[in-house]
């Protein structure tokens, strides 16, 4: 089999729609086009049946009841709905929420919006491995705290938080617990009951489903969670999320969940983890001065985030242009600031500029990783040959001892 370039190694950004998922979706763009809200004819019934079946598929993947699944336009909306929804509904009880510094922008910016409304937010710090300390959370919870939002797995460094323990603590202290579970769901087992989760955000396109569709899991039962909607209209999704059901996308999300459940049983995570470990081992054999970002132990199987010291991230991505990856370098961001996730973990700003994120997925092959290893090795050597810093280090000069002029 010949290798097709460029090679996609950015599966945290998005994933390719699984052909099995696409096949299930297609009829809903053609003959089965009804509005799931049309209760009085066959077109509507067919659509509604499809939506409910997808709801069951999503629920089954996370150990939930189908009634606890709210379809949204994606995880950004799910995060916003969970955070703004709880904050607004319970504002008489309290106006304090807790999250962490390394959350996705969908959570952080929703929190910033609440701050402008007079809410108070605690942003928990993380340790070098990217995890919060339970003690910090225990201290941060106050009588007026209504919600804790801590992501399951981080999108940059793949660090997995101890959700079960965090959920348990929140339950003991009587605050709701939301987790942005986007990066982990469909890749690792997730169970809302055993993991003490009250709300979870899920995105289809991170798990080989279509873009533009997501879910907010909202636990039923006591104590009941009430959300103030962020979208008003036809009262779909129990009034929490109005808007005509995007039936083809919902069906795709359901199928993606079913396919993911099968893949998990067939050992997909282990296969991906082996490829990731192989990539890391080979790179370390070939190159010096590589630094792993994030926890090795508590990590998504497909994630590898490395700082290639002395090779600036954007230059690196230009050099390995046959590989689609992502970087925490300032030069690749609109803000010209290096990754806030790496900075929060205490990664040196110099090293943050040289970080590259690899996301290995369902369709990644061993052959592609072999190509990547050779390509990265050659290009890192080439860039280091051009790097004054690498030269200085090889001459025994301590770069930190030099007085650099910031610009």
């Amino acid at each position: 089999m010949s290798l097709k370039l460029p090679i996609y190694l950015d599966n945290h950004a998005t994933t390719r729609v699984d052909p099995k998922v696409l096949e299930v979706m297609l009829p809903f763009l053609t003959e089965v086009f009804g509005n799931a809200g049309s209760r009085n004819h066959a077109f509507g019934w067919a659509a509604q049946e499809a939506v409910e079946r997808a709801r069951e598929q999503v629920a089954s993947l996370i150990g939930a009841d189908p009634k606890e699944i709210i379809f949204t336009s994606g995880a950004t909306e799910s995060d916003n709905l969970a955070i703004l929804g709880v904050a607004h509904f319970y504002k008489e009880k309290g106006k304090h929420l807790i999250t962490q510094l390394t959350e996705h922008k969908a959570v952080l910016d929703a929190c910033h919006a609440l701050e402008k409304e007079g809410f108070e937010i605690t942003y928990l710090p993380v340790a070098a491995d990217g995890r919060i300390r339970l003690e910090d959370l225990a201290v941060a919870i106050r009588p007026d705290t209504t919600l804790v939002s801590i992501m399951w797995a981080n999108n940059e460094v793949g660090t997995i938080q101890d959700i079960t323990a965090i959920g348990k603590l929140c339950r003991e202290r009587g605050v709701f617990f939301h987790t942005d579970a986007v990066q982990g769901i469909g890749k690792l087992p997730f169970n809302v009951a055993s993991m003490n989760v009250d709300m979870a955000s899920i995105s289809a396109h991170k798990m080989y489903g279509p873009k533009g569709i997501g879910v907010l899991y909202v636990r039923r039962g006591r104590p009941r969670i009430r959300l103030e909607p962020t979208m008003f209209g036809g009262g779909q999704e129990r009034g929490i999320r109005s808007g005509t059901h995007a039936v083809h996308q919902i069906v795709g999300m359901g199928a993606a969940c079913a396919v993911a459940a099968d893949a998990m049983r067939d050992g997909e995570a282990e296969r991906i983890r082996e490829l990731r470990d192989y990539l890391w081992t080979k790179l370390q054999e070939n190159l010096d001065e590589l630094y792993l970002n994030g926890s090795w132990e508590h990590r998504l199987p497909g994630n590898l985030n490395i700082s290639f010291a002395f090779c600036e991230g954007e230059a690196m991505m230009m050099a390995i242009k046959d590989l689609a990856v992502s970087s925490g370098s300032a030069c690749t961001s609109a803000s010209l600031e290096p990754s806030y996730v790496l900075r929060a973990m205490g990664v040196d700003v110099e090293l943050a500029h040289t970080s590259i994120r690899f996301g290995i997925g369902r369709f990644t092959t061993r052959e592609e990783i072999d190509y990547a290893v050779q390509n990265i090795t050659d290009k890192v050597r080439w860039l280091r040959e051009m790097s004054p810093l690498y030269e200085m280090v090889k001459e025994g000069i301590d770069i930190k001892s030099i007085e650099w002029t910031a610009h």
Partner: protein, 140 residues
């Protein structure tokens, strides 16, 4: 980042990468930028007694446009006078490479590197002149 073909060309085929002996009397070295900011340029110029830049070498840690800016600068100054090199400013570099606005600082850094290298050379010359003067004063 959408770069011009010129940036891509200089990045993929950088001109005059390398190092000279920084202790040599006829070599001026400029080291500008900071690792924390994501770019560091080292520019070295070998300058003849009559003020002609005979050779130029660079090493750069930085993004594609930082590498391209330094590569371009070595091409511009090679074989030219110190006066000409001093007249190169960041706008000329940015214009030549069609740098996007967020990358203008790369061209500023390249201009700084030229000025720093020439200043280093002049300092060496001044020290040498002082040493010669001191030596001749001592021998009198």
């Amino acid at each position: 980042m959408a770069y011009s073909n010129k940036v891509i060309d200089h990045y993929e085929n950088p001109r005059n990468v390398g190092s000279m002996d920084k202790n040599a009397e006829d070599v001026g070295t400029g080291l500008v930028g900071a690792p924390a900011c994501g770019d560091v340029m080292k520019l070295q110029l070998r300058i003849s007694d009559d003020g002609i830049i005979e050779d130029a070498k660079f090493k750069t840690f930085g993004c594609g446009s930082a590498i391209a800016s330094s590569s371009l600068v070595t091409e511009l100054v090679k074989g030219r006078s110190v006066e000409f090199a001093m007249s190169i400013n960041n706008a000329m570099i940015a214009e030549e490479l069609k740098l996007p606005p967020v990358k203008i600082h790369c061209s500023v850094l390249a201009e700084d590197a030229i000025k720093a290298a020439i200043a280093d050379f002049k300092q060496k010359r001044a020290k040498k002149a002082d040493a010669v003067a001191a030596a001749s004063a001592a021998s009198e």
